[in-house]
């Protein structure tokens, strides 16, 4: 079935290292996306007319544009046109953060606007001041709404990182291809074995995260 190639040399180790490359890119992008997304989301919730239009256009662009096109544009496009020589990893982090920030900002905006006005009012009516209202009443509710959704975004990012092999990053899928190529003669069935193992690896990486998100969502549902 082609599993035997994985036992040759350090092939299995190389696959895990490939997965780490993918995880590193997604983790970095997630951290950047959350930081920027929180700021942009608050700005979106403020409903400043001009800013709101700009941010909405940004969100639309991100949603419509395939991430691969964006990757090519940032990695290959900028090199010649602007003379910027980006590392492939850097380009990938930029593109995924660009995408993740938009998604995150929309989640933050939704969570903020989803807190009913009366929550502020009933808190104030109890004598809590504005600061106390935010710290004890509003922000905990926002965080509870946000965390499951942002964890979801993390798994989506991990999955999407498989695209980065297209700009030459040797991540898990690319390593898999290399192993298959190298053993074409001796193990013609390697494709099945290798990709099946990669499938399991992605599952092992994403499943605990999505379970955590489900668990938190259930625990905190209102």
């Amino acid at each position: 079935m082609g599993f035997e190639v994985l036992l040759k040399g350090n092939n299995m180790l190389r696959l895990w290292q490939g997965l780490l490359v993918a995880l590193k890119i997604s983790l970095l992008s997630v951290v950047i996306s959350i930081a920027l997304g929180v700021v942009l989301g608050i700005l979106m919730a403020l409903k400043l007319p001009v800013l709101k239009q700009i941010l909405r256009a940004y969100l639309e662009v991100v949603r419509i544009m395939p991430q691969m096109v964006l990757l090519f544009l940032v990695y290959f496009g900028t090199t010649k046109a602007m003379g910027i020589n980006l590392q492939a990893e850097t380009a990938a982090v930029i593109v995924f953060s660009f995408w993740g920030t938009a998604e995150m900002a929309d989640l933050v905006r939704g969570a903020l606007q989803g807190i009913p006005k009366i929550q502020y009012e009933s808190s104030m009516s109890l004598g809590l001041n504005t600061y106390q209202t935010y710290v004890y009443v509003i922000i905990p509710q926002i965080i509870r709404r946000m965390i499951p959704l942002s964890i979801n975004l993390i798994t989506r990012m991990i999955k999407t990182t498989s695209l980065v092999m297209m700009i030459g990053i040797v991540e898990v899928l690319k390593v898999g291809q290399q192993i298959i190529e190298a053993n074409r003669k001796t193990s013609p069935n390697a494709a099945f074995g290798v990709f099946a193992v990669i499938f399991v690896m992605y599952f092992l990486a994403c499943w605990p995260i999505s379970q955590l998100s489900k668990y938190l969502e259930k625990k905190w549902e209102n």
Binding site: P116, I118, Q119, E121, S122, S123, M124, S125, L126, G127, L128, N129, T130, Q132, Y136, V137, P140, Q141, R144, W220, E221, N222
Partner: protein, 249 residues
Amino acid sequence: MESNEILRVNGISKRYGDISVFEHLDLSVKKGEVVVIVGPSGCGKSTFLRCLNGLEEIQEGEVLLDGERISQNPKELSRTREKIGMVFQSYDLFPHLTILQNLTLAPVKVKKRNKKDVEKEAEELLERVGLLSKKDRYPRELSGGQKQRVAIVRALIMHPEVLLLDEITAALDPEMVKEVLDVVLSLAKEGRTMVIVTHEMQVARAAANRMIFIDGGKIVEEGEPTEFFEHPQTERLRQFLHSFSYEAE
């Protein structure tokens, strides 16, 4: 008699731009008095109530609590709100906190009271409204009527001098209205000062020391409950009360 006046409203007006909700309303509430305000939907009675604890800004007039003018300054306003409790139609408990935490939040954070003492008091009050067994539950696990009783306790535990109830049974299923109104009646009996906006005429009658009828942004009629319900003086109040009776003609 004037000396035990606790809340006084002098000619307050509320406007949104050019649109006037009400003009120059006056009210005086004595300690231990239960004032019930009724009126058709949109007459401004809820807005009037919200002006009393500064949730709505007023454009004219003043509200005095214990002879002191309620300022619109946010800092002083939170101090005032400790003394004026308010319960809303949609029983807005804090969904991320348990019932007990909902009750202890304000006394501990605002009044800086000892947490153990507050918890003990909260449990006593919950016992009184028959909800002690729910203290570690979350609001989503309670029925509407139960949530509303908790909301009343949450206001009571701040030891307010005046309690404002804004249509607290309007969002409840009919079979849950009674359990909430029983609590309101027992508070009235023990001499709590309350200003109540409601559509429940039965309770208005049972709990009120004084009735006020607001229509079109004005106090059209006010008086002692029996007189108010049996012999309304104005045609408008007669019509309003009539809309609540279903007797065959």
